[in-house]
Symmetry: C2
């Protein structure tokens, strides 16, 4: 028979089993963390009507959409989890309770140009808090604490959550009489890390934005405000009283930073950073980016912010919210690439491999059943292979224990257990074997999926 | 602004939060069960090259495929989890360890005609065990024990796993000189439950299959063999010695049924049923179907079997396997429809809602942080609402406890906790509050997602 070459599409991550276990542990850790803060899980369809999904229309993203006809229906694959959330909230408004806190970890699709570390199918891990008409500022303070908790639970230590407030930026630009151009300016300033201040200034005075040199200098001076959070906030106080929106933003930023200590976020992991704008027009308050301190070149690994209107394309209801998104597939790729994955984590498909040494499998099956009833992942190995091959099977899969059950063990109501790491082998009662294996699993159960090199 | 009507595509399940929690609990229960037997998790792409996905070609399914072009690439959404597994195993053969046990719970896509209870996007929950060249029969005996364990863990009690062996059927048809027609015959016999014996006989003697009346009668007599497993096996012994393949199949069936007691599957939940054929040509040994005893009209809720060649379209390697699939979305729909979902399960997004009664949120934040550190899902409620509305929030979301923290509690280093079910409210130390809430969560933590009415 002619064979088709088995292959996976470029830009689609498909992992070998041990790596998959590491990825899944990361996703599970995020789920557990999000759940601790009262977020409920959602799982929306991957396909939506194009009319619904692209209601907002236009933009960079639209070109990347996987869009196609099925019969006479115009369909698109979701390209983020925010638009489906907006649809969901608008559609189910009367049945939801606000503030509505949801998390979703799911695949999204963007037909980007294929290149290393860029994915066309990738997971996003999102949380959002949606208010009905209003949403208290304290939610904006809670978000960085969740980011902190999430990355800490994953095992990452050297990261920093950078926070700004769009009202401060918009207010500042209004002071300069540039409110009309604030969108363009912020998109340009957002490139500061990548292209540096001189080129940003060049773009600001160039024809399509058209600032004066003085205005550009004012802006660069403003976003150059650096220092400890207290120093930055103090410098910002120098601008107070010149514009209402600015003053409001400064109050919000002070509230958010003020609560962070109460939320347990250390000062080392948090910075007020006036260069953060998030190049999206819909953020209206606090904005967040998160960077790995040793890999700033990777950019933000968790971004988001406050918006005033989640679902304006679907409903007249005012639905303000705050949310963040982690690009999990890209993060995993980067972590693997940089050697950050914790290979001490147990990635074996089983905790113990049971080798029956008798014709009758019943005693081995009974042993497996008993171990499983105690929560031990027990695999029976029943293939007709040489002993050495059976041991090699456990070894290749990194299964930590092998249990032998021969006539001798069966007659003594015992089992021989080999610790594959130490090579030590003992014959013990089934209860003792279970206790030993459980203790060993427990020791490794809390190993985080990330270990900084 | 003109609004787009928010809507979800027909045939796509999108759940409200409490239902989603029940669905997720079902999926988690399956994951945990599969993992206990040494299956490793895989997560393959939803999109594959059409050439790869449709290598097998033809068939009913192809018309239902979501197939489209992106640029000049011909893509298809997966319509099951078996073909992507075959591709994966062929592609990664040298890096996998055999027998390779994997589970996958993922969405698949079929553009079926829209009707109630039929889904175009739906979850399958699959396990497969793939051998390299050979695979021991004991694996075929283990599968029903996993099915038994999985449904029992879900809370389902009244179900039956029906087992047959394709070698018995193929051997039997060979005895009648009908091996060439066995595929057609089995597809017809497979309809027995739906259309009854007379119509099956009619189809068998009709032109396109063309059996004699005697042959049709022999077949109906054979598949009419009923009774306890021992009785059916005994009746089958009457055919022994007439065809080698039949005898081999009978031996396999006896081995599989023989081990089931050792695996802890009660006789009540297991039946040898000669009418089970699975209308797919690639099954070659044991085949399984699982029915709800009180809802036979739903058909099989978990099906599968032994196949000799997983990936023949991609590789010359002989990769025999055995696997089953649960159509999870449809099962969930049926369970909801029939009132089988356990509404006593905790579906709230949080275990406790914390209501700060002071201007300064710091004490409430500290309380939330402490409760979370003990694994309690604690949500801060900080919106500016009336007390009654705050309580209504907890009530609507079925959050079991509300914790109040006013000046009085703070000064006493205590917290007032209201049990929303009983209405009882007590002021206790934070440690006592945590213990109380944890105990209450633990009581409900093991509630299965299914409760038979």
């Amino acid at each position: 028979m002619a064979k088709v070459q088995p292959r996976t599409l470029s830009g689609f991550m498909e992992l070998l089993p041990a790596r998959q276990a590491q990825f899944d542990r990361m996703a599970d850790t995020l789920k557990k963390t999000y759940a601790l803060y009262g977020f409920t899980a959602l799982d929306t369809p991957l396909i939506e009507s194009s009319e619904v999904l692209l209601a907002k229309g236009g933009g960079e993203t639209e070109k990347q959409i996987y869009r196609f006809m099925k019969g006479d229906t115009d369909l698109s694959l979701r390209f983020d989890l925010t638009v489906p959330l907006a649809k969901y909230v608008a559609q189910n408004y009367s049945q939801l309770t606000f503030p509505f806190r949801r998390f979703q970890i799911g695949k999204v699709y963007r037909g980007e140009r294929a290149q290393r570390g860029r994915f066309r199918e990738f997971y996003q891990a999102d949380i959002d808090i949606i208010g009905d008409g209003k949403l208290d500022i304290s939610n904006e303070a809670e978000i960085p604490s969740i980011i902190y908790k999430a990355f800490t639970a994953l095992g990452l230590k050297r990261f920093q959550i950078r926070v700004n407030n769009r009202k401060i930026l918009n207010g500042f630009y209004s002071m300069l009489g540039l409110e009309e151009k604030s969108g363009d300016i912020m998109r340009t300033v957002d490139k500061l890390d990548k292209i540096g201040p001189d080129k940003v200034a060049g773009l600001l005075v160039a024809e399509d934005i058209g600032l004066t040199r003085e205005q550009a200098d004012e802006i660069l001076k403003f976003i150059a405000i650096k220092g400890s959070n207290a120093e930055v906030l103090s410098a910002l106080e120098g601008y107070r009283g010149r514009h209402e929106l600015f003053d409001l933003g400064l109050d919000e930023l002070k509230t958010v930073t003020g609560y962070l200590a109460a939320f347990g976020v250390p000062e080392t992991h948090f910075a007020v950073d006036l260069t953060i704008a998030r190049g999206l027009d819909y953020y209206t308050g606090t904005v967040y980016e998160t960077t790995m301190l040793d890999h700033p070149e990777i950019g933000s690994i968790c971004s988001g912010g406050r918006y005033d209107s989640l679902a304006e394309y679907y409903t007249d209801k005012q639905l303000p919210g705050v949310g963040i998104s982690i690009g999990l597939t890209r993060l995993f790729f980067v972590l693997e690439d940089q050697g950050y994955l914790n290979d001490e984590m147990n990635t074996a498909p089983a905790d113990v491999l049971i080798l029956p040494m008798t014709e009758d499998l019943a005693p081995a099956i009974a042993l497996a059943t008993q171990l499983r009833s105690e929560g031990i992942r027990a695999q029976l190995y029943t293939e007709q292979k040489k002993f050495k091959q059976k041991m090699a099977y456990a070894d290749k899969l990194s299964i930590p224990y092998v249990a032998f059950l021969g006539e001798d063990e069966i007659s003594r109501n015992a089992v021989s257990v080999k610790d594959m790491a130490s090579g030590e082998q003992t014959t013990v009662s089934v209860a003792d074997a279970a206790a030993k294996i459980k203790a060993a699993i427990a020791l490794r159960a809390d190993l985080a999926p990330i270990k900084e090199p």
